[in-house]
C-alpha cells in the first residue's frame, strides 16, 4: 500500500516536472527575440546584425537625428488623440449595449466583431483609396492630413475594443445602484456622473490605455495611410529595415518597448484595483474575454 502511494507520488512529480521544463522553454522562446533586440540596441557597429562592441551609439544617433525623433513624436500625438476618440465612442457604445439592449444589439455586435476579426491588411488597403476619395474627390481637405488619417484609422479598431471592455464591466454590475439613484430623484446626468461613470471608470481607463498602445504599435494600416511629414515610428522603422539595419532601429524599438510595458502595466494595475482576477485581466487584454 505504502509502496503504491510512493510510486504514484513519484509519477506525479515526473509529469509536473516535465510540464515545468516545457513552461520554462516556452518562456525562453517567448522572450528570445525581445531580449535579442534589447541587447543589440547597445551594439556600436554600423550594421545591426554584426556585434562589434557595447555602447550607446544607437541611442545617441536617435537623439541626434531629427527624423526618428519626429517619428516618435508623431506616434505619441496620434496615439493620445486616437485613444481619446476611441475611449469616448467606445464608452458610449458600451453603456448603450449594457444598459439599453434591444433589437439593435445583435446587428451592432456583429459589426464590432467584424471590425475585430478582419485582417488588418484588408482595412489598410480599404482605407487608402477611401482617404483619397474623401480628400481629393470629395474635397474634404482634412483627410489629406496625415495626422487625421492616422488618428481616424487607429481609432476604429480601438473603439471596438473599448466598447467590449466597457460593456463587459457594466454587464457585471447590477443596475440596481443606478436605479436607486433614479428613485432618489437624481437627474439622469447626475445619475450618470455620480454612479455609472465611477463604476465603469476602471474599464474606461483600461480601454483608453489599450487604445493608446494599439495606436502606438500600429504598423500595417499606418504604412498605407500615412503622409510624408507625419511618419509614425513603426513606419519609419519598417522603411529603415528595408534599406539597412542600423543599431538605431534596435534603440528606438527598445525605448518604445519600455513605454508599452509601462502602459500595459498600468492597465493591469487599473483592472486589478477595479477588482478583476488575473485571468479576467488576461482575457480583457487580449480581447478573448
Amino acid at each position: 500500500m505504502s509502496q503504491q502511494t510512493a510510486a504514484r507520488r513519484h509519477r506525479v512529480d515526473w509529469t509536473k516536472w516535465s510540464l515545468t521544463v516545457w513552461g520554462v522553454l516556452m518562456f525562453v522562446f517567448l522572450f528570445l527575440p525581445i531580449v535579442w533586440i534589447v541587447i543589440f540596441s547597445f551594439n556600436t557597429g554600423r550594421v545591426l546584425t554584426d556585434w562589434s562592441g557595447f555602447g550607446f551609439d544607437g541611442y545617441r544617433s536617435f537623439f541626434e537625428n531629427s527624423a526618428p525623433r519626429a517619428a516618435v513624436q508623431t506616434s505619441l500625438i496620434v496615439a493620445a488623440l486616437s485613444a481619446v476618440v476611441a475611449t469616448v465612442l467606445g464608452s458610449l457604445a458600451g453603456v448603450a449595449l449594457a444598459r439599453r439592449p434591444g433589437k439593435w444589439t445583435t446587428g451592432f455586435l456583429f459589426l464590432v466583431a467584424l471590425v475585430l476579426v478582419t485582417p488588418e491588411i484588408v482595412d489598410a488597403i480599404a482605407l487608402l483609396p477611401w482617404y483619397v476619395l474623401l480628400g481629393q474627390d470629395a474635397n474634404i481637405l482634412a483627410f489629406n492630413n496625415g495626422y487625421v488619417r492616422l488618428i481616424v484609422s487607429h481609432s476604429v479598431f480601438s473603439t471596438a475594443v473599448v466598447t467590449l471592455i466597457v460593456r463587459a464591466r457594466l454587464a457585471g454590475i447590477d443596475e440596481s445602484l443606478e436605479e436607486a439613484a433614479g428613485d432618489l430623484y437624481a437627474t439622469p446626468t447626475k445619475r450618470f456622473t455620480q454612479i455609472t461613470l465611477p463604476l465603469m471608470l476602471p474599464a474606461v481607463l483600461a480601454g483608453g490605455l489599450l487604445a493608446f498602445t494599439l495606436s502606438l504599435d500600429n504598423t500595417v494600416i499606418s504604412a498605407f495611410v500615412f503622409v510624408q511629414g507625419s511618419t509614425p515610428w513603426p513606419v519609419y522603422v519598417l522603411a529603415s529595415v528595408k534599406t539597412a539595419l542600423r543599431p538605431e532601429i534596435a534603440s528606438i524599438s527598445t525605448m518604445m518597448f519600455v513605454l508599452t510595458v509601462i502602459a500595459i502595466g498600468l492597465v493591469g494595475v487599473v483592472l486589478r484595483r477595479g477588482g478583476d482576477s488575473s485571468s479576467d485581466i488576461a482575457a480583457t487584454m487580449t480581447g478573448t474575454g
Binding site: 528570445l32 525581445i34 448603450a96 524599438s253 508599452t260 510595458v261
Partner: protein, 324 residues
Amino acid sequence: MTTDTMETADAGSTAPVPSSTKKPRRARAPKFLLALPAWTWFILFFALPVGLVLLYSLGEQVSSFVQKPDISPDVWSLDNFPKAFDPAFAPIFWRTLRISITGTFICLIISVPFSYWLATKVSPRWRGVLLGLVLVPFWTNFLVRTIGWQLILAPNGFVSQKLQDVGITSGDLGLLYTQAGVQIGVVYNYLPLMILPLYVAFERIDSAMTEASKDLGANRLKTFVQVTMPLAMPGAIAGMLLVFIPLMGDYITASLLGGAKGTMAGVLVADQFLNTFNWSRGAAMAVIMIGFILAALAVFAIVGLLLRAIVRARRRVSLPEAAA
C-alpha cells in the same frame, strides 16, 4: 447627450411619479442613441471602405498610370479574379494557406501543455506574474519582434554561428528569407493568441470535474483526454480562430522574414496597392484571400462537427438497467 437633456426634461415634469410609470417614458428615447457615434464611425471608416474594395475588384484598370479603377456599373466584370489567381500568384495563396494551417496547429500543440501547466500546476501566487510575462511579448510591437527574429535567423547571426561552431551545419543556417523562417516567425508572433484563451479555458474548469473522473477510476491521461480537453475545447477553438484569421492576412512577418521564397498573400495584396498601383487586381486578391479564410473556416467547422458526432456516437453510454 440628447438622451440626457430629453430625460432631464422628463424627470423634471414627472418627478413625483413612481418609477413604474417612468420606465415606459424612458423607453421612448431611441435606445441605440449612445451607440450611434460608434456605429457611424464603423460605417464610415470600416464598412464603406471595405465595400469600396469589393467594388474595385469588379472594376477595370483604366491604364497602368492611373491607380483608381473605373467602377461604373457597365464595366463590372469578374475578369480581375482569374488575373489575380493566375499561375504567378496562385501558388502564393496556397502557400499562405499551408503556412497558416501548419502555424495554427503548431501553436495549438505547443500551447496546450504550456497553458495547462500555467493554469493548474503553477501556484496562484506565481500565476499572475507569469501571466503578465506572457502578455509582454503579446503587447510588444509586432514589427520589433519580427526584427528580433531577423537578427536571430540572419546568416551571420548568433544561432547560425553557434550551430557552425558545434559542427551541426557547415554553411550558414539559411533560414532567413525562406518558408521555414516565415513559419518560425508566424508561430512566434501569433502564439500568445493561442496561449491566453487556452489558459482562460483551463483555469475556469471546475476541479471537481477532474476529481470525479479520478474517483471513477480514470487515470491522469484518460482524465485529461476525456474530461479536461473537452471542457477546454471552447478555448482551443477560440485560440485557433484568433491565430488562423490574422495569420492568413499576415503582412509584416512575411515581408521581413519571407523574401521571395516565403511571400504570403498579404504581401501580394499590399504590393498591388503600394508598388504596382493596380488597385482592382489588388482588391480582387484581397477578396480571394478573404474567400480562402472563409472556405477554410467552413471546412474546419464541418470537420469539427463530424468529429464531435463520431466521438459522441462511440462514447454513448446506454443505461438500460437503470431505465428499467
